[in-house]
Subunit: 213 residues, 2 copies
DNA sequence: TAGATTGTTAATCGATTAACAATC
DNA sequence: TAGATTGTTAATCGATTAACAATC
């Protein structure tokens, strides 16, 4: 439908932050903002903001700037936060539970329709309106309910790698991946967002260390 | 002490991943690897690996490649994973508990010496060998125990912004920031690693959406 | 020595920033 | 209209990739 112009990855990665800031401005009741004022608040250049937004269309008006609500809605629509997407969660340990309880999935159009865990002690328990099911049931569940996204909050085991294969076969289109398993290598067509928490912590390790020398 | 050559941020961000991969190779008992073989495994170019490593020194040997254990140790030492750094955790809700239980801090030289939460129901309880203390006590605790890092696992409230100010005054040098508060803006000298989980999820939202059009 | 692979310089590529004409 | 600010093109900057001489 759209021109489907190629959008550089760095631009895509900045969209959620634009959306977040515009949401805050909207909350505050600000109704217009210029690229230079927004750049000041977000800590980037006005040029970059205009450049980024113009990948998707001319949302501003010369001499005026951008209408906050309109721009917020436009970016929301580009991101597709209003389209319902079904998600499942694999792993309901500490991290999985935190993700399940902490994230407001609905805000981005995600619906958590299934939670799975290996641990029999957790199976049958309720978490975020879901009854925790055995992990082995996940592929079958996907065949029946066709979720779009799988959230992986499990340790990096061989079985998990196999589970990923089965999930892809069952039609999962995207992974929110908290493991260190490299999904993209085998499945370049699948959308993967890796969250390597330890890598992020290690970066701080380096920076604190640079002080000492 | 060192030449303190400027290291580009993208290089620093790749170091944890190099360290992780070399750790895995070491586990497997691989004793040497060439940049081209490592590049194949990591999904980047051999040029980039050699370029990156040579920011810190010539760790390889022509005609041979790199000694896995030696390179692992070198990168570990660059990152400073063996230097003890004290950390505190602010917020012991779902996310804070997951972080406290899930991360093997010791692997990167971090020691979790204090956990704080606003919620009186949590105060006094044990978490990862720490008794949860009232958040208000954190600045005083920092004066006495001088931790290097504060991990922020709390909602984005005005009080948290004030707490950050106090923590900086009390000598905190780095933040592992799970909130959306912009710490760098006010404190450019402080090391901040932002983990915007929702931004990462929203990126998947965009990509799943791009399928539909 | 010959073969392999590094360290490093040069070329390319892409992203960011600057500039300015278009226009509200 | 004059002033402001966008949309867009051009210039700059930096990061990645390619090439190759050095050398183990």
């Amino acid at each position: 439908m759209s021109a489907n112009k190629y959008i550089p990855l760095p631009v895509i990665k900045r969209l959620p932050r634009y959306h977040r800031f515009l949401g805050m401005l909207k909350e505050k009741g600000v109704d217009r903002i210029s690229s230079s004022e927004l750049s000041r608040q977000m800590g980037l250049t006005a040029s970059q903001i205009r450049q980024d937004l113009n990948c998707f269309g001319g949302f501003g008006q010369q001499g005026y700037g951008y209408n906050v609500v309109m721009l917020y809605d436009e970016i929301g629509s580009i991101l597709g936060v209003n389209n319902i997407k079904k998600a499942i969660l694999i792993g309901a340990g500490n991290l999985g539970q935190a993700i399940a309880r902490h994230m407001t999935f609905s805000k981005w159009g995600f619906e958590l329709i299934g939670i799975f865990d290996e641990n029999p002690a957790l199976q049958g328990k309720e978490l975020r309106n879901n009854i925790i099911m055995p992990t082995a049931d996940a592929p079958d569940f996907c065949e029946k309910n066709s979720p779009d996204l799988a959230i992986l909050c499990v340790p990096n085991t061989e079985e998990v790698a196999e589970m990923i294969e089965k999930l892809v076969e069952s039609g999962i289109k995207a992974f929110w991946n908290f493991t260190h398993i490299d999904i993209k290598a085998k499945h370049p067509e699948i959308y993967v967002e890796n969250v390597h928490l330890s890598d992020s912590l290690v970066t701080l390790c380096y920076q604190l260390n640079s002080d000492i020398e």
